[in-house]
Symmetry: C2
Subunit: 134 residues, 2 copies
């Protein structure tokens, strides 16, 4: 195996704004609108982003601390434990979440999206095209 | 807007092994087999991962440094520049890549996959189910 790499430090590019203030481990349900407000310095990185496109939103589970390598799915003790890499739990070695959303509007540094599975105030780390050519 | 969050430091959970040693900005072509070799400490996080499942592999573009907010797609100057958040370029504010792959085998701490768009030695940060319920 090659040498073990060290670490990478990431800085948020913006924040999620929506109506979800809960601290539950599960995120908002489907169909809920959210906004991603980029910090001004990153606005021009949105050029070409259009309503109707699907994107992957990469975010930081900033309220999560610690993890277990095997967990009950959705914290349901009636279900057998599985490896964390088969689950979307926020309690994972690197607390990164990914949500596939549809862009509904882009105005300035603000992207409106549907179905973003993250709470209000969540730091956003990246936005990428979902699928398609590279 | 809420307070600006600080930063998050991530540590690799394993490394990509394949035949791609190039430093080009584009990754391996489709259909190419790769292995993800997790560090032993994380092996039990794979419990329940089965051949045929699709997963998102989150990795660190560890050879990339710096970024531009607008870039020519795939570095092709014949194509108009677009915002980096509409591109899969490794030259992005947070150098994180995501590749959706199909698991072909799981043995111990090693996952065999197809179509992983990352070079040999790439540090892997996370593995998640692709799509489906949360």
């Amino acid at each position: 195996m090659a040498e073990r790499a060290n670490s990478v430090t990431l800085h948020p590019i913006g924040l999620v704004e929506n109506g979800f203030e809960k601290t539950a481990s599960t995120g908002p349900s489907e169909g809920v609108p959210s906004r991603i407000v980029l910090f001004e310095a990153f606005s021009e990185g949105l050029a070409g982003l259009e309503p109707g496109q699907q994107v992957l939103v990469v975010f930081w589970f900033h309220r999560s601390s610690g993890y277990e390598l095997q967990q009950h799915p959705q914290g349901d003790r009636a279900r057998p434990m599985r490896g964390v890499f088969t689950l979307r739990s926020p309690r994972r070695p690197n607390p990164i979440g990914i949500s596939k959303v549809t862009v509904t509007d882009v105005v300035g540094n603000t992207i409106s999206v549907s179905d973003l599975d993250a709470f209000n105030g969540t730091p956003v780390l990246d936005i990428k095209p979902a699928g398609g050519p590279h």
